[in-house]
């Protein structure tokens, strides 16, 4: 009797496993087909095809390296020339992370259930954060360049705007898991909202928030280099000039590539080290 039941269960189980495998197989085939057709569409709509361009991938880097090697004597001078631009790019990233984090703290607390000053307005603040996150920074930067003129300020404001949205969501997720007991304790002794947040919530969430802010700084360094390329100053702008069609100065471009690469790697390593220390405590 028990053997029979066990056999039935086994058959059922195997049937279920087979069905699951079939479903995931079908899903996989659909997925691969989607990918393949996606690449075909992308390839068709691209100016040059994949296989036409494949052998040319290394042309530009090798041209660049060849010219850089040829003018290797210029490299130290070039590196020094572009350090101010690099510092500007880093400053844009740092200030925008700073301003964005401060605004994000405020908006995140206002958008977190249990902590908000006006609980009814939570959906409003959440939508504000969603919209701030959804607008690409390049759009805001280009519009601000039109109004404010070129330079670092449009890029800074644009990245700060986006950072506020991105960090606000993450900060709010962290704050949701904060222990409310200290907040209630502070409330019982008559602390104001600001005091409750500053003394009851911030100490709990600070390590996680800092870790997210550091990650954001890393992302913002990349973003500020890109915005420079679109016209907002800093090292990206110098790069655009250096590789401009026709009058390319590849030794300068190589120096900028090198600076950018080293900076990003250093910041990447530093921030991942710091984040490990902050979150895991080692």
């Amino acid at each position: 009797m028990t053997e029979l039941a066990a056999g039935g269960i086994k058959a059922d189980y195997m049937a279920m496993v087979r069905r699951r495998r079939m479903y995931s197989g079908i899903l996989m085939i659909v997925f691969v087909a989607l990918l393949a057709s996606g690449f075909r569409v992308a390839n068709d709509r691209n100016a040059g095809g994949f296989f036409d361009g494949l052998h040319r991938v290394l042309d530009f880097p090798s041209e660049l390296v060849a010219e850089a090697v040829e003018k290797a004597a210029n490299l130290p001078a070039n590196l020094v020339t572009y350090v101010p631009a690099l510092i500007e790019t880093l400053n844009i990233a740092a200030v925008s992370t700073l301003i964005g984090s401060l605004l994000a703290i405020l908006l995140a607390l206002l958008a977190t259930p249990g902590l908000s000053l006006w609980p009814r307005a939570i959906p409003v603040f959440r939508r504000i954060l969603d919209i701030m996150r959804a607008i690409p920074d390049v759009v805001i930067a280009l519009m601000l360049i039109f109004v404010l003129g070129g330079g670092p300020v449009p890029a800074m404001l644009a990245i700060a705007f986006h950072t506020t949205g991105a960090l606000g969501k993450l900060f709010s997720e962290v704050a949701e898991n904060a222990d409310l007991k200290p907040v209630e304790g502070l409330q019982s002794v008559g602390a104001s909202w600001f005091q409750r947040m500053w003394l009851g919530v911030i100490p709990q969430v600070a390590p996680n928030w800092l870790s997210y802010a550091l990650l954001r700084f890393e992302i913002n360094v990349r973003a500020s280099a890109i915005l420079g390329f679109v016209g907002a100053g800093g090292i990206g702008y110098e790069l655009k000039i250096a590789i401009g069609w026709g009058q390319g100065r590849y030794d300068a471009a190589a120096a900028i590539f090198l600076l950018l690469f080293l900076t990003i790697v250093v910041i990447d390593q530093f921030s991942s080290h710091m984040r490990n220390r902050l979150v895991k405590g080692h």
């Binding site: 996606g38 992308a42 709509r45 691209n46 700073l98 109004v147 280099a225 690469f261």
Partner: protein, 450 residues
């Protein structure tokens, strides 16, 4: 931490050292509490000077901001008279595509015979453009007469003085009011009138459906009386909207699809490439140190070079377009995913693998049933996060590489006058990014919590 090291638990509670420890801790906290804001402030002061914020006021062009904002929600119609040939043209935004046919001018522009045109602006002001002069009449009935003579442009005002809303010189007179703007030069006379809303958003002037109400259109769509013989009305309405030459809805939709496609292809392919490589770069799966070290450095390199440089290098080889964008995302994200996935693999719980080993499972089976189920949720949730954020990156990459909505956006911004189109694209991008956000959140909840 200073507190626990200050007190020595095994030697009983030493009050003095505990106190010292506590004081040290408090002193440190106090220093951070005052030092950190002071540092931030000092940095901001430095930035104030480094970015020349004080000089910003001089560089800023508030009139550009006014143009930008008013263009976002309104449009203007130009009435233009060529003072050499005497030809008058009425065109929305001054574009050829928005030019009214000569026999169907809007009601506020009326020909008054003998080459004269009367333009009624909002707020009851009128402009009379005659061959010999231009008269601007205010609400109070005061007439300002402008004569574009060959020797120079002459302005006659009722009291002989030039008010501050008129800028007049020998070569150009410009009158700016709430109702619109009048510019007279030797070559041409131009009147702008502003209207609320986006012009010709649904149908252009040459479409038979222009200027009809929604109910009328619905009625037409279901009637058998074909506006264009051989084409059903519903199809004609759709095609006139879809092929609107001013707003180019079809191209915009394609561009949006291209942007999403870039993000999808780049992210998913990067994940597919990164998974096997992550196994090779995790300590507990690859005993071979050189391989591990090599692959980790490849990941660092891919991430370090950054999407900007990849985009530049790839666009030299493949030209502008969505494929270049996808490949740039693919390269950068392979690096990011490789690092994230190998960290997830290193944090795998060994107990399940041990259990499988005790049943005699092979290495492949151990990984398939012991490791994959543990890391799949992490991998999936990371991929979905990146998919959402790459939709936005694809817009930026499109702006550099020239593909998708990013290209349309930069083109519209560079002309510095199509701000209503910029607004349209921004609204669409925000909608798409929010949809991707919702979709990826929903998928994450469905797939990970079951």
């Amino acid at each position: 931490m200073a507190f626990t090291t200050g007190a020595t638990p095994d030697a009983g509670f030493d009050l003095a050292s505990a106190r010292r420890g506590a004081e040290r801790l408090i002193a440190r906290k106090r220093m951070i509490a005052f030092g950190a804001p002071a540092l931030v402030l000092a940095y901001l002061v430095y930035i104030f000077f480094a970015f020349d914020i004080a000089g910003l006021a001089a560089r800023a062009r508030p009139e550009n901001a006014a143009v930008l904002l008013s263009d976002m929600y309104s449009h203007k119609t130009h009435v233009e008279r060529d003072n050499r040939t005497g030809a008058v043209e009425v065109a929305i935004e001054g574009e050829r595509k928005g030019t009214y046919p000569a026999d169907a001018w809007p009601a506020w522009v009326t020909p008054a015979g003998a080459g004269t045109t009367v333009v009624t602006l909002g707020h009851g002001q009128t402009v009379t453009i005659a061959p010999e002069d231009v008269r601007f009449v205010t609400v109070d009935g005061e007439t300002y007469r402008i004569v574009p003579a060959q020797s120079g442009i002459v302005l006659d005002t009722p009291d002989g003085e030039v008010p501050d809303w008129i800028s007049a010189s020998n070569t150009r007179v410009m009158i700016t009011t709430e109702g619109g703007r009048l510019t007279v030069t030797k070559a041409r006379t131009e009147v702008f009138r502003y209207f609320f809303g986006w012009e010709l958003f649904f149908f252009t002037l040459d479409s038979p459906f222009h200027g009809r109400s929604f109910t009328e259109l619905v009625g037409m769509a279901f009637s058998d009386d074909e506006v264009r013989p051989g084409v059903s009305n519903a199809a004609a309405i759709w095609s006139d909207f879809w092929n609107n030459s001013m707003w180019r809805h079809r191209d915009v939709a394609w561009a949006l699809c291209e942007t999403v496609l870039m993000a999808f292809l780049g992210t998913i392919s990067a994940a597919i490439i990164a998974v096997p490589l992550a196994f090779l770069s995790a300590h507990n799966f690859t005993p071979n140190r050189p391989v591990l070290f090599g692959i980790r450095r490849i990941f660092d390199f891919l991430r370090g070079v950054d999407a900007l440089i990849w985009t530049i290098v790839l666009s030299r080889a493949f030209g502008p377009g969505p494929l270049t964008g996808s490949l740039a995302i693919l390269l950068t994200d392979t690096g990011s995913f490789g690092k994230l996935f190998s960290e997830a693999l290193e944090n795998v719980d060994e107990k399940q693998v041990e259990g499988l080993r005790s049943t005699g499972a092979s290495a492949l089976q151990r990984n398939r049933f012991g490791v994959i189920p543990q890391v799949a949720p992490v991998i999936l949730s990371q991929v979905l996060y990146y998919l959402e954020s790459n939709t936005r990156s694809a817009t930026v990459i499109g702006a550099i590489v020239g593909g998708g909505i990013g290209l349309l956006l930069t083109q519209a911004i560079i002309t510095q006058k199509d701000w209503e189109e910029v607004t349209y694209y921004i609204v669409l991008i925000v909608i798409v990014v929010m949809l991707m956000d919702t979709l990826s959140g929903w998928l994450r909840r469905r797939l990970i919590r079951g």
